[in-house]
Symmetry: C2
Subunit: 624 residues, 2 copies
């Protein structure tokens, strides 16, 4: 019995049989996992066996919003997409915002569990609990903006919201993403999972009302929540006025904006070319996700040369890094163009940029020849080559095919010791922080269940100095185990599950997050939660995800970082001389596992911890 | 008193003052001019003085649909845009379809008369008779698809329909068009008129119902009309299945598909590269204008190389010609890409392609050097150069600035006798028929009030052999004066005014057009019309347009064709040896003026003719 927040319904969509089976969302799953990534990981662990081919029909793709989506709570139009990742072979979770997530709820479902593989290109059309399978023959090969428009025209309804893949996903690029509007469920190659199922798009529309258990309580809780948001100097005015790319200036000043495949961090810090002052000359307004008062997304339009007139939603900081810093490109318009192109092709901008940078380093070192690149002069900073390469990667043409699956696969194919230039953890390319000067970030990359992921436990403390009680020395390894657990669990419980924007981690006071989430949960759903209960949900989900990975064969050895970050101290800038030594990492990991109550040797959750979290069945499943 | 068909309201929007004044549509104007281009030309003649600078604030831009738009009559979501053309200095009328035209009506108006010039980039937002002026600061420089989406987001309404300009219009390119959805009011540089007024876009939305005078009569008349449509082998299956680009095969077979700036027609006839068989490998479905059962618009997606994944609505035949035949390009994917790029930049595809071809001929003849082209190897067939040049033209960069205003201006600037390579009439670049093998087309180009326009009196008879009673010898000059008058007047009266798709000229039996229009007019509006009345409306509008041009200084001498078509016989193909000699043209013009009752020496409407048409005031105005 649902009193609010949930539709109470999930739908299992089998593409092989073209069937849709509606089922109840079990109340205990709602209570224990809240929603979003919680649901995704729960169903993934329970239904996708160890050793499943991520690109085979046995993998499942789970779209889930949470109980806050579709209510009046701000910043809650978020949705998780979960599958076994083809890029990491671990849990793949990516979240997206915009308008699709709430529309999914209005269409009648808390979650879609997509199974099997369609015989032919297909798209799914869901309206008010009615699921249809439609031919995507004409959409196959199409870029994502056109794809969304053509589906709207086809369905004769401009208010339909669509999540789709581009050519990259169709071509099973392991760094392909899923796009809705101009937003992405970007990382871990989930677009390839969609492509492997011959699923081009999901279109949703409806007017299912989301009930509220206690409207009075919700009003009060929302007030508290909004107050906390307003106290964050990160959200206001930084993100609301400048968006995430303002972080270019900050990370350059800190000496951690990664330069040239992490070989020139601190040295290549092109603030005067791509920093805030220049960014503002390209800003043409902001976009808001449904119900968001911040509106962090800054639309930018390129102005010069062949890029003139190209619009991007963003580029976000991570894209400024991936098509800027790490590739050595300092042409703002090229970055804008590459951002939009990636969205259109359905490539994850972070992984794509880092992979381009990897290719550039190999080219500069003479490991890739001009013959092998098909004539591309793949030097750091060559933005034309970068833009061309993105297309080749999405279409798997020439050198693009070699690089289409990210740096780990490319390094394996090329051999010659190139793995040392492959900047990834567990196969997932690094985000935009050189963790040699931000060690909680480093530990989070090493331990996140998705690989090097900045969104599953971002250490705001090291970058923005908040939440305040956690004042930290970003260079010190001490205390980072505890901090990382805190960041991971709180982010999971208060953002990835309910579902809320992860930027709300930037609230000023850390304990307000769990308190507010507890209050909001109670108001919306009628279920009782203490702040500690919220914490435990976060811990439960992280443990379950870890258990999935352990069952897939992951061990402590996989909780590591690229060699470069552990052996080469930063040469220039405000973090000069720093690096994460192997003993630093060991120290941080030991603390982390201890804090988590995990086996310090294997990095696996113990039976005791799982039992404490109500996950006895997981301990049993892992033994079998 | 309006009984149906019309909203009865026009709105005069002054951008200088930011005012909107709603007025009644006078019933006599409705009766005598029907709507669409009729309204546009009526207000243009009455309100825009001789000698007005087309790009000055005194020029007016008139958007008008007709009484059929927004009713259940099929193919009636059409709208005319009228202004004094900056490309021709004559009447500029272009029509567009899609969804905007009916939405304009639903928004509450039969016509918008846009005056003055906004101080800053502006867009107009009209909802149910409420006109707002909004800043287009962030939209300035933006491509047309993004512009439309951002406006929808801004207005928080995905059902808004938008007509806008791209960078070409902003930069006052005289070959700039106006785009709604992926459709264009393409020709005569009306996009530059919008740009000159600092008007980026017009957004419309509403639910004004269009009343019907007699629903029973409408049902019957619509039945007759639909029956006539179904009898047309051009509409079904040719246009419905293959769209207009199938005409590539037909015109190649006839030896009139223009090749390489009209220097190689008959010789360059690349059916095997860009004809129907190849086109079908790129087709991904069709798009229908609002309420159209034909759906002639074939979506095509490029497949190869740098063009892969680019979608175009079209390319229509005219674009297959302008980015194919006339430029010597036979790469289907480049044509698709150039089509989409032009739509995004807001360039008229016909004028843009012919201008590229002009540049190519000059380059091949050594008149333009590689230095002057900024390194572009501007040879016939070089599709990369073509695509690059389009961007340069829209942004007025380098060689693009020289070519941005079409062939006539470019030839004037370059001098050196290059006018002879400039394929235009009255400044308007030629459409896709080499009229040396289709003389009624030639006469229509020479006499159309808009310059070389295939849409103001297309001689279906010469290309498709219909309407049947007009069996014609396409090589003969005889009878073409009468035929052209017929085509011009009927097209104006039955398509451009009510407003209907011009393809309905392809109905099987000629007299059904006027009869059906009379029936439909009576059913919709309650006004009485005989088929002859409809004819007279067409004649009236053509006379008024001609009078506008005469008042601007146009004479018989302007009713001519490019020298090449009058002096160089076709060298190859099924029209080999044919051309329109100067005496052919003289013969045709004499017949045409005689049929029209115009002065055979000046080409001007006589007072007698104007009086007969109820346009005495025009005769007076022209004398003053």
């Amino acid at each position: 019995m649902y009193r609010g927040g949930y539709t109470g319904k999930i739908v299992r969509i089998n593409l092989t049989d073209q069937t849709a089976e509606e089922g109840e969302l079990p109340l205990e799953i709602a209570r224990d996992f809240i929603g979003g990534a919680g649901f995704g990981i729960k169903y993934l662990f329970d239904e996708v066996k160890a050793g499943t081919d991520p690109l085979g029909p046995e993998n499942k793709l789970i779209f889930a919003s949470g109980p806050f989506s579709g209510t009046t709570i701000p910043c809650a139009s978020r949705m998780s997409v979960t599958a076994k990742s083809p890029l990491t072979d671990a849990v793949g979770v990516a979240l997206t915002g915009g308008y699709f997530p709430v529309e999914l709820k209005y269409a009648g479902y808390d979650a879609l569990i997509i199974e099997g593989k369609a015989e032919k290109p297909t798209y799914i059309w869901i309206k008010n609990g009615r699921v249809q399978f439609r031919s995507a023959k004409k959409l196959w090969g199409m870029k994502t903006t056109d794809c969304q428009q053509i589906i709207k025209n086809d369905l004769n309804d401009q208010n339909v919201r669509i999540a789709c893949i581009g050519p990259a996903g169709e071509n099973l690029s392991k760094i392909a993403c899923i796009i809705n509007e101009l937003r992405a469920a970007g990382r871990k190659g989930l677009g390839a999972v969609m492509g492997s199922k011959n699923l081009k798009a999901i279109a949703v529309r409806g007017n299912t009302r989301v009930a509220i258990a206690d409207k009075g309580k919700l009003k009060a809780a929302r007030g508290e929540f909004t107050k906390a948001m307003k106290e964050s100097h990160v959200l206001y005015p930084k993100f609301s006025k400048l968006g995430t790319p303002a972080t270019v200036d900050l990370t350059c000043a800190m000496g951690i904006f990664p330069g040239k495949n992490f070989s020139a961090t601190g040295e290549f810090a092109p603030v005067e070319k791509i920093g805030v002052e220049v960014q503002e000359t390209r800003n043409v307004g902001s976009e808001h996700c449904y119900g968001c008062p911040v509106g962090c997304s800054q639309l930018k339009m390129a102005k010069t040369g062949a890029y003139a007139g190209i619009l991007a939603e963003g580029p976000e900081f991570e894209t400024m890094y991936s098509f800027g810093g790490v590739t050595g490109v300092d042409n703002i318009d090229a970055i804008i163009a590459a951002d939009r192109l990636s969205d259109e092709l359905g490539l994850d901008t972070i992984s794509a940029g880092v992979t381009v940078a990897f290719g550039m380093e190999l080219y500069e070192k003479g490991i890739l020849s001009t013959e092998e690149t098909g004539g591309l002069v793949l030097k750091f900073g060559n933005h034309e080559a970068m833009v061309t390469l993105l297309r080749l990667m999405a279409f798997r043409e020439g050198i693009g095919d070699l690089l289409s699956d990210g740096v780990r696969v490319a390094a394996e194919k090329i051999g010659k010791g190139t793995e040392k230039y492959a900047m990834h953890v567990k196969g997932l390319e690094l985000p935009g922080y050189d963790v040699r000067g931000a060690k909680a970030h480093g530990l989070n990359y090493a331990t996140s269940y998705t690989g090097a992921d900045h969104n599953r436990g971002y250490a705001f403390q090291e970058i923005f100095g908040i939440p305040i009680p956690h004042e930290v020395d970003r260079f010190a390894p001490e205390g980072k185990g505890k901090l990382t657990k805190w960041n991971q669990d709180v982010c999971t419980a208060t953002c990835d599950a309910p579902t809320m924007c992860a930027f709300l981690m930037a609230n000023a006071v850390p304990d307000t997050a769990t308190q507010n989430t507890a209050n909001l949960m109670e108001a919306v759903t009628g279920l009782k939660y203490t702040p500690e209960d919220i914490w435990v949900v976060g811990e439960r989900i992280n443990n379950l995800a870890r258990a999935f990975n352990v069952r897939e064969g992951f061990t402590r050895d996989d909780d590591t970082l690229p060699d470069r970050l552990m052996t080469e101290p930063l040469k220039e800038g405000a973090s000069k001389g720093h690096f994460i030594s192997k003993s630093d990492l060991k120290q941080m990991l030991d603390e982390y596992y201890t804090e988590r109550g995990w086996d310090i040797n294997t990095g696996a959750p113990t039976r005791a911890k799982l039992t404490e979290l109500g996950l006895e069945y997981v301990a049993d499943a892992m033994r079998s």
